[in-house]
């Protein structure tokens, strides 16, 4: 029997397809027994060429394209894009629209954190928590569906405002949903901070000190669990967060348990904020019209997505299409920390550490053009050509 294992340690590939990853990414962990000695990451499996594609669509179409950067935090991308374009056009959305945008953003944060809690419980092998947190996530998805009309890509934004209003019945439904979610979040906090078996898998695992977090450029809840006070909603308030401030949730332990607790405490903070917005919803218009051609200029916005800071840079050249659009998502900043933290841990802890930053690969991977690698240079294919190419390719392979 032949074996290719030459040294004592060998490499365990995690991904591109692997049960621990809900999205394609590739990690290679060199292990010595059960202990990880080296880690390597490769991205790009969900690369869709969004930055490049945005340059060939008009300003309105880009709004929906960017909403698809990420399936979970779709609203925040549209939100960031709208803010940047409005900044370029020297227009401000009406206060009511700003409040509704923030409200949807916070609902989305609740959704994202519940989803994350389930995923990481699943990685730890605690499927009961996974099932229950996802059951409760349905509640917030129902709220979002009832409010915006879509379950996933909410399309709540419009350049210059929002598409819908919140009436009394909807406000009532949201409040009821929030009561339920608050109670459940309280329960999960108990589970996450008390359950002895679960704590065995989180306490003291993947510790990242404050200095490490700063050097590795961690953002969002991952950074805040290491006591890095960085929350765009507070440090660089935007939109309606100026009228409705949030409180920063910080923890100084820096391990997985801290990351869990920071996120659950953020749930409470989001719920409080939504209630406050519902009680003091500014009145007025829902949207203002934007010109089709956006004046030339540059705009940069930074927003706090559920996973951390998202950075948008937009350059306009005065036409109806953007000149350049750059998206920097939180996961790319946090992935660095996974690579460093995994070394020295058991293989069994790796999925947990990975889940601890709430990775989102589709956020990371964005741009691409179609090419044919066998020809020199680049060949652009139309769809029928590509289809034919696929058929020919498999015919050849079949022989």
């Amino acid at each position: 029997m032949e074996t290719t294992v030459t040294s004592k340690s060998f490499t365990v590939p995690i991904g591109p397809q692997h049960p621990a990853l809900k999205e394609p990414g590739h990690f290679q962990f060199t292990v010595d027994g059960e202990v990880v000695t080296q880690a390597y990451v490769r991205l790009g499996y969900a690369h869709r060429g969004i930055e490049k594609a945005a340059e060939s669509r008009n300003w309105v179409q880009d709004l929906y394209l960017l909403e698809r950067v990420c399936g979970i935090c779709s609203h925040i991308h549209a939100f960031a894009y709208c803010l940047a374009v409005e900044q370029l056009a020297h227009v401000e959305a009406p206060p009511r629209a700003e409040a509704i945008r923030v409200l949807v953003a916070e609902l989305e944060r609740i959704h994202s954190h519940f989803l994350w809690m389930g995923v990481s419980a699943h990685e730890a092998g605690f499927d009961t928590l996974f099932m229950y947190s996802w059951r409760d996530r349905e509640k917030v998805m129902d709220i979002l569906e009832g409010l915006t009309g879509n379950r996933v890509n909410y399309s709540a934004n419009l350049l210059g405002g929002v598409k819908f209003d919140i009436d009394a019945t909807q406000a009532k439904a949201i409040r009821e949903g929030l009561d339920f979610l608050e109670e459940r979040a309280g329960h999960y906090l108990q589970v996450l901070s008390k359950d002895a078996m679960f704590l065995q898998r989180t306490r003291g695992i993947g510790v990242m000190t404050r200095t490490e977090a700063e050097v590795l450029g961690a953002v969002g809840p991952t950074a805040r669990a290491s006591f890095v006070p960085r929350d765009m909603r507070l440090t660089a308030p935007y939109s309606a967060y100026r009228q409705f401030p949030v409180q920063m949730v910080l923890d100084d332990r820096g391990d997985l348990e801290a990351r869990f607790e920071v996120r659950v405490h953020e749930l409470f903070e989001s719920i409080r904020l939504i209630r406050e917005i519902l009680n003091n919803l500014p009145s007025g218009e829902l949207s203002v019209r934007l010109p089709r051609r956006i004046p030339a200029g540059e705009a940069m916005v930074r927003l706090e997505a559920p996973r951390g800071e998202v950075f948008y840079y937009i350059k306009s050249n005065g036409t109806d299409k953007p000149e350049r659009l750059k998206v920097r998502t939180p996961t790319i900043c946090n992935l660095n920390s996974v690579i460093r933290l995994a070394v020295g841990h058991q293989l069994a802890d790796v999925p947990m550490i990975l889940a601890g930053i709430d990775p989102c690969f589709s956020c990371n991977d964005r741009m691409v053009t179609l090419t044919d690698a066998h020809n020199e240079g680049e060949r652009l294919m139309t769809w029928p050509q590509l289809r034919q190419h696929g058929i020919d390719f498999y015919k050849q392979v079949g022989k």
Binding site: A236, R302, E378
Partner: protein
């Protein structure tokens, strides 16, 4: 430190040395520093880091098109609500930039992205493998260049 203090401190740092820069306030909370000499980029970044001014939020590459024949690279250093932008230009042919990885480890992903999307040679970058693009991506094709064309969208009225 409030925003005004951050920005004026940054301005002070940039101006206090004999660096060839053009400093302006393009937006109320943004300091624009045009770095005219490439070799001065690293010292300026070191200067900002020493005073703990900002963290590297992103590096944005811009292709200014075939007319200008230049790349513009923006380094966004953010702190609180303010941003310090370092603007660097490099010609499109044989473009090269110094690497910031020694000073800021998290710059690695952005520099790898610049390398594979724009074909900018990052001097001092250790990991030069593809980050986003496939392994068999042809050499010398850089998707984010303006003259690299994407397949056009089906236009209105086109028969299906």
């Amino acid at each position: 430190m409030n925003n005004e203090e951050i920005l004026s401190l940054a301005e002070q740092i940039v101006k206090s040395w004999n660096w060839t820069t053009e400093v302006s306030r393009s937006q109320p909370n943004q300091l624009d520093v045009k770095v005219l000499k490439l070799e001065e980029l690293v010292p300026i970044v070191v200067g900002l880091r020493v005073k703990r001014l900002g963290y590297l939020s992103a590096i944005v590459g811009l292709d200014l098109g075939s007319a200008a024949d230049q790349f513009e690279i923006l380094y966004y250093f953010c702190e609180k609500n303010s941003a310090i932008v370092l603007r660097v230009h490099t010609p499109r042919v044989n473009a090269s930039l110094p690497s910031l990885c020694e000073i800021i480890p998290s710059a690695e992903v952005f520099e790898r992205e610049l390398r594979e999307m724009f074909g900018i040679d990052i001097v001092g970058l250790k990991t030069i493998e593809h980050l986003y693009l496939p392994e068999d991506w042809p050499d010398g094709v850089f998707p984010m260049l303006k003259d690299t064309q994407l397949p056009a969208l089906p236009v209105q009225g086109e028969k299906v």
